[in-house]
């Protein structure tokens, strides 16, 4: 078809363009085959290795980020749990302190009352002892005084008299026997004598 037309269009100017030069077919095949070998040996493996490494790096990064997120979440939950437990613990401690304080106050009050009672008791005892001392002292003096007074009333001194001493002692022992139970009346009785 082309053979018929081309001589008309361009009269015998060139050869049929559809007829190849064998050298060009061979050269095309050789060049492309060599390039294929070079690219398959030295180019594709390197690009694929880089691609693989990059994929792994990105996936590793994502995994790392996810792990960090999980850890952060766990830490947050842990903190919140700790916070809640420490809140309840604080409430419990406050409660304990309140009851403890109440207990201590009650105890202290009891102790103070006991102490007060003891002090009062001591005071009573001391007063009793002093009264006894005063009473015994007074007894001795009153005996002397009474003897002296009676001597003066009778008109003779009974100081050294054996009889007088006996009288006084008897009198005092009587007082003694009456004294038990109503000690406060002793001065009146001695005064009646």
């Amino acid at each position: 078809m082309n053979d018929a037309i081309i001589p008309l269009v361009v009269p015998m100017a060139g050869e049929n363009p559809l007829l190849p030069h064998l050298s060009e077919i061979i050269a095309a095949v050789v060049f492309v085959l060599i390039l294929t070998v070079i690219i398959s040996k030295a180019v594709v493996p390197r690009f694929e290795a880089t691609y693989q490494a990059r994929t792994e790096a990105i996936e590793g990064g994502i995994e790392k980020a996810e792990r960090a997120q999980r850890e952060a979440q766990a830490a947050l939950e842990q903190y919140q749990a700790q916070l809640a437990s420490s809140r309840s613990e604080a409430a419990k401690i406050r409660e304990d302190a309140k009851t403890e304080g109440g207990r201590i106050i009650a105890e202290m009050r009891e102790q103070a009352q006991a102490e007060a009672a003891r002090i009062v008791q001591n005071a009573h005892n001391q007063m009793e002892a002093e009264r006894n001392q005063v009473v015994s002292q007074l007894r001795a003096e009153i005996g002397g005084l009474a003897t002296n007074l009676a001597g003066r009333i009778v008109g003779e001194s009974l100081d050294d008299d054996e009889r007088a001493r006996r009288t006084v002692d008897r009198f005092l022992s009587e007082l003694e026997s009456h004294e038990d139970g109503r000690p406060t009346q002793q001065p009146e009785e001695s005064a009646h004598r």
């Binding site: 363009p17 060009e24 290795a49 490494a53």
Partner: protein
């Protein structure tokens, strides 16, 4: 039409560009006839492609530099957009061939607009025949190896789902289309686009120059100037066509490999 030319272009001395414009003498006197511009261009293209890929693959880092980014963009375009999408999970085996074919065809096509060459290598049909013949052998070999001779014949000629009474028509058609026509269309598509594109450029540039410089009437000079200016648009169109043809050639190669090796049609 040969008779009409003197009538339409009544200018002595103007020789319209034709297929003879694609014939060049050997590079230097005394060299064999096959050592011509085409071979030199193909050789330089071969070297450029090889150096480009080797340099791009030399030291790849996780975080790409600017130069590496260029190589990676080209690589992953071919790998993912052509290889993986057309061929599927087995694409890795055929990826080096696809890269080599695409790069080689692209650079050789772009010689058509490169100022020092201005001649697409595939405008000589031998280059297109060589490339397409290689693809033809490759995809048939893949199919034969995978299915065996009879299995491959059945795989090629009997698409699934065709009713039995249609097979007498379908089998010859499929055989004709898949085995005979494919390499022819593959080579002629590339060759014809390159030849026609270059011829178009020649017509606009040489014709415009002749009208502007050699011919007398003022209308011819205006037409010649317009033609030269418009040739810039033709150049732009050629860039597009050259890139597109390289892409189509590679996509069809992947498509043929895929159809020969896929389990179902």
């Amino acid at each position: 039409m040969g008779l009409l030319i003197p009538l339409l272009v009544p200018m002595e001395g103007y020789e319209p560009p034709g297929v003879q414009s694609f014939d060049f003498p050997p590079l230097f006197p005394g060299a064999p006839a096959w050592v011509d511009r085409y071979l030199l261009q193909a050789l330089v293209a071969f070297l450029l492609v090889g150096i480009f890929w080797l340099v791009m693959a030399r030291k790849n880092k996780l975080v790409p530099s600017k130069g590496q980014f260029v190589g990676e963009s080209a690589y992953f375009f071919l790998r993912d957009s052509i290889g993986r999408d057309m061929i599927g999970h087995e694409f890795r085996k055929y990826l080096p061939f696809l890269i080599a074919v695409f790069s080689f065809v692209l650079v050789n096509n772009l010689w058509g607009i490169f100022p020092l060459t201005l001649l697409p290598t595939a405008s000589h049909v031998g280059w297109a025949y060589g490339l397409a013949g290689m693809v033809w052998i490759l995809y048939n070999a893949i199919g034969l190896r995978k299915f065996g001779p009879l299995g491959y014949l059945k795989h090629v000629t009997m698409p699934p789902g065709v009713p039995g009474y249609m097979l007498p028509i379908v089998i010859p058609l499929e055989f004709f289309s898949n085995i005979i026509v494919r390499p022819i269309t593959l080579s002629l598509r590339l060759f014809a686009n390159m030849l026609a594109g270059h011829l178009l450029v020649l017509v606009f540039v040489l014709g415009g120059e002749y009208l502007l410089v050699e011919s007398e009437p003022i209308i011819n000079k205006v037409a010649g100037g317009a033609s030269l200016i418009f040739s810039m648009a033709i150049f732009a169109l050629e860039i597009f066509v050259q890139i597109l043809q390289a892409y189509i050639f590679t996509v069809l190669t992947a498509q043929y490999i895929s159809s020969a090796s896929s389990e179902e049609h």
